[in-house]
């Protein structure tokens, strides 16, 4: 493996590829071959700390290195497209962190490039991979809660809630705003759980318009109402100023025969209500994930013992490796990442125009 970036996600992927073989008994056993970072010093540090064989201060060097057989892009959005395109041109599989590039054009180009070169490609929507959310998907598609009538999702955190936090790269550029950074996770969840979105009506805004005297040029929070192709009605909210919320990736799905609730802040529990049995015994049940749920057993034989953030990345790594081994893409591919970007794009248009806006396929 070659991993571009050794920050928050670069490290997470390095750990994941160290552990994934032992956890999932994968056919391919990855080696941490090379890490790239923006400086030589940091690349060397990551190399030593995470246990890579070699370091590069240039992502292109990493992508081109013959011993790097697969590339993980865990660097800022601006690098995604060029790195992916180069890798595809060399026929190498690429895993790219969300969102897919810095713009919808990037997402389109990256998806097209992957398709043209028929390379394995995957985008990093990790939260949907918890055993609980995978199981929620299954319950919904098995129609345990009947027809879905309502979906409410949010991805809320509070890392910029404090007005005194100074401006930084995070407060500049669309792709670093809430719609660029947080929304994709929950939009992806909506698409995975309920299906395609036909139109949206959004409101996007900057709460703290300047920080430390510097203007903030991207959005702090945003909401959108949406209509799914299935007819279901929905709403999503995204915020990086959601005081008190730390990992507010949460959703509620209401169906004609039941309902599901989930909150990533208690990621090992899924709440299920079934409209069956005597009225007096009905209620939301708190299901603790365990070996009976998707991808849990390899982590622990005991139910309720729990998986965590890092484990999502390990599941992701397993899927990427298996896709490579099978030479067969696994969900979510770049095309799925692009579908998310299309919803984001429609939301931006809707916000400007103040009207319901259809989501454009490509």
């Amino acid at each position: 493996m070659g991993i571009i970036g050794g920050g928050y996600m670069g490290k997470a992927h390095a750990v994941a590829y160290s552990a994934v073989g032992a956890v999932f008994n994968t056919r391919l056993r990855p080696r941490l071959e090379m890490v790239a970072a923006s400086t030589r010093a940091s690349a060397d540090r990551y190399c030593a700390e995470f246990g890579f064989a070699r370091a590069a201060d240039d992502w292109a060097q990493l992508v081109r290195d013959p011993r790097v057989e697969a590339v993980v892009i865990a660097a800022p959005q601006a690098t995604h497209r060029a790195a992916a395109e180069l890798a595809f041109s060399l026929g190498k599989p690429v895993f790219c962190e969300k969102p897919l590039g810095a713009s919808i054009e990037d997402a389109r180009a990256m998806t097209a490039s992957a398709a043209a070169r028929k390379c394995i490609n995957m985008v990093g929507f990790n939260y949907i991979r918890t055993p609980a959310s995978q199981y929620a998907r299954k319950l919904i598609s098995d129609r345990v809660i009947g027809d879905v009538t309502w979906f409410r999702g949010e991805h809320t955190e509070d890392f910029l809630a404090d007005a005194d936090t100074p401006a930084s790269w995070r407060t500049k550029g669309d792709s670093n705003g809430t719609m660029g950074d947080l929304a994709p996770h929950m939009i992806n969840a909506a698409l995975a759980l309920i299906g395609p979105i036909s139109s949206v009506m959004a409101q996007i805004e900057t709460v703290h318009k300047s920080r430390g005297g510097e203007p903030v040029t991207n959005d702090d929070h945003a909401q959108m109402m949406c209509r799914f192709d299935s007819g279901a009605m929905g709403h999503m909210f995204f915020s990086r100023v959601g005081t008190g919320r730390k990992m507010g990736y949460a959703y509620e799905v209401t169906g004609t025969k039941g309902a599901i609730r989930f909150d990533q802040e208690d990621q090992n529990a899924l709440w299920l209500y079934k409209a069956e049995g005597p009225e007096a015994e009905r209620g939301f049940r708190k299901i603790l994930t365990g070996p009976a749920h998707p991808d849990y057993a390899p982590f622990c034989q005991g139910p309720g013992h729990g998986t965590g953030y890092q484990d999502q990345i390990i599941i992701e790594a397993r899927d990427f490796l298996e896709a490579i081994a099978d030479d067969q893409n696994r969900w979510p591919t770049f095309a799925d990442g692009l579908a998310v970007s299309q919803v984001v794009e429609a939301a931006r248009t809707s916000n400007s125009a103040g009207v319901w806006t259809p989501v454009q396929g490509d």
Copy 2:
């Protein structure tokens, strides 16, 4: 007291006026003088069961009765306006259940009539009177959570979630739909907690379009995004098909320095987050209501011992009696009920037009 209606709410008010004196040591000590219902038989039954002195099968007879000094309207929306107008013409105070009349015209006329006759008037938004929600109001107005940036409210129940429930009066007529029946409670909460709403963007729909072969002519669920005068952004959702939700009157208020969460299904708890103190010690705290919170102590000296639905109606009765004793209106008056109806009206317009719609004052 004279109470029009002896059903769900008629009984609740009858119990409330039986108990309110002992609970709150009110200056006025009400007598259950007369109850009116749509039939003689039911009126007589209510009279005996709830302990009224006399019964009437005609609301006008009750309103006109000289020994009825104050009128509570707890009959369907269609009776609200005429009963209130008659009472005001006789100079009698009126408490009217929400919503104010069957249409915005009714609400306007009733408010005008109350003002013209300078009669005491009050509208029945009981949920906002729990100790927890009163305390939430206080926390927000004391700026404990800073500037409010986001409000999310819902009023969700599931009494019509089952598609097999047959059509009835509930499934006919705007004022019995979700926007007419449930939305007013949460809109009132939004106005009380955050302040006036300047514009809304709504989506209103009927999920089960026919029941037992009969068409359903009002809405099952609805959502709206809103902008408050203060600049805060908001969202509300209302549903009578919210499978699993029994009393889903719930809200979240995010501010720059804290946040509040409340769910009526656990009405004795208020969740408060304050962005202060060491990061490691921060978290939403679950405050159990007790004597330190508004209107709790008269019910019980012990914190955490809890109040219930009926107690809200007793608090409401206290306010109505005190308003009469002082000849000074107490919140929420008909004008406040009208303000709610104006938001509902704007939502209906927005839903039809598909655009953001300003809320029109009168």
Copy 3:
């Protein structure tokens, strides 16, 4: 009705007898005839505030008054026995607050007196009357959770957690200590839910041995292990220094086929786990009380709308009135109160002796 005491519980009963007729359509319709308190001034104040016809500064005067047809004792433990015995000697029904008298001898004498005179008698264990706890009883006796193997109960509050709270009558005398004051509620619950207790092993202690220089002569917290006649194992804990707990009347019942959890701090929810159905769907379900649960519907037609502390006292009042109307005792009688006192007694003996101690019947 005549009510002895107008404090915490005296008021609660006054409110309850004002409301009970309207709520439950009881055959007997009580009148608030007379209230007694320790001083003339306070008795007069209670009389006016709660709406009694007359006041007495002597409980014996109240008991003897010919228009007082039933007596509620809501004064301190020291008055219970004499007041009850006098009432029984006059053939009057008596409702007595828990615990039954100031000592086990009192409890025995009161029970014997009630039996000898064949008078209606009831003891005030209100918490077990919530719809949730009544339903828990039913679930257990219907064997929904199979054979009970384990019971854990607690009654914890924190009104004396602060070491700086000065000494008072509460900190003196066995019957005002935690074993006298709080333990009876939960012991009664244990007996009601699981059945008779055969033996106990207890530990009773005073945490803050002096307050403001004055010695504390009763217990702050206590625990006991117990064995039920059924063979089930159990544990109870009682505390008035349980920092953070406001109404910690909570229990967990584990059975061979399921489990139940309840906490009075969220009194409208009962948690039920059933070991049936696919493993992946199992979990504790949070059942919100509603019209499908015992004694809920008369308070409100809507599920999840909730009852509160005062409503328990109303249910209790209904039972007392119905017992009188039928001339047939209803649970829990003085004999049930005595059974609780016997467990308390065994716990005290066990604590002193440091060994398992059988619970002595009388």
Copy 4:
């Protein structure tokens, strides 16, 4: 590393030693050198699956192998002592899963052997290593909740709740019963959080006395009251028949100035109550673990993102490696494991004798 056992815990340790270097940037970078199992076939399978270099079907071969520099014992209790003693005789550091050996004699011998040979030794109490429980320890030792007055702990699971589960090695032998298998984790927590236990009063029993016709010879659940050296009172409960509980490692600590609650089923939350500030604002706060809490940051930079079961084992591996690197034991050593075994022993004695039993140091 050489790991004895490739089952539940053997795998967990294999994964942990694969990941720990990248997560914690440890000085020592372990290699998965050899795995031993009870058969050649299983050892070979583990070797391939987890990525070991070599396999052994004999633990002694593994311990003696010169390239195995440190030994992890993750095989059944019966192997612990002999394996540890052999390793110490060769001067190798040993990590041993809980409980320490199959009997208190084993625990004593192992501890003595470690001391005699001055070898690094550690025992596998992983649950206390979550960021939440480490933080709870810190809060208590920083006296944030004042003096501890009450501790309640439980370790409850339901893997043998079903009476139809057949007898197996789990249902035979003291060290596989609840006191042997589950109790040590929570006793260790009690010692870590509150301090030494001076005496206990226990009740230990077998709920399902036979399974599939075969007698069950060890305990299904057990409870004990205890007195800590500090004077605090406590209670613990352990069960493998705790229907509905999956990972019920839970505790409550009450102090004079606050309280703490924790439940491993929601391992990323710690509940803290502080008796300070206005009464109206007090409540248990739900603190989500994050980078501000011990050992969280290396797993994820985002608070609330969560750690899981496997991460505890990684933290444990870090401590073992650091102990080796420093040639300085880290908590918990074999001596700490022995202290736990001494409490278990006192509990067994108490259960037989029916009296309070002092915990014997060695």
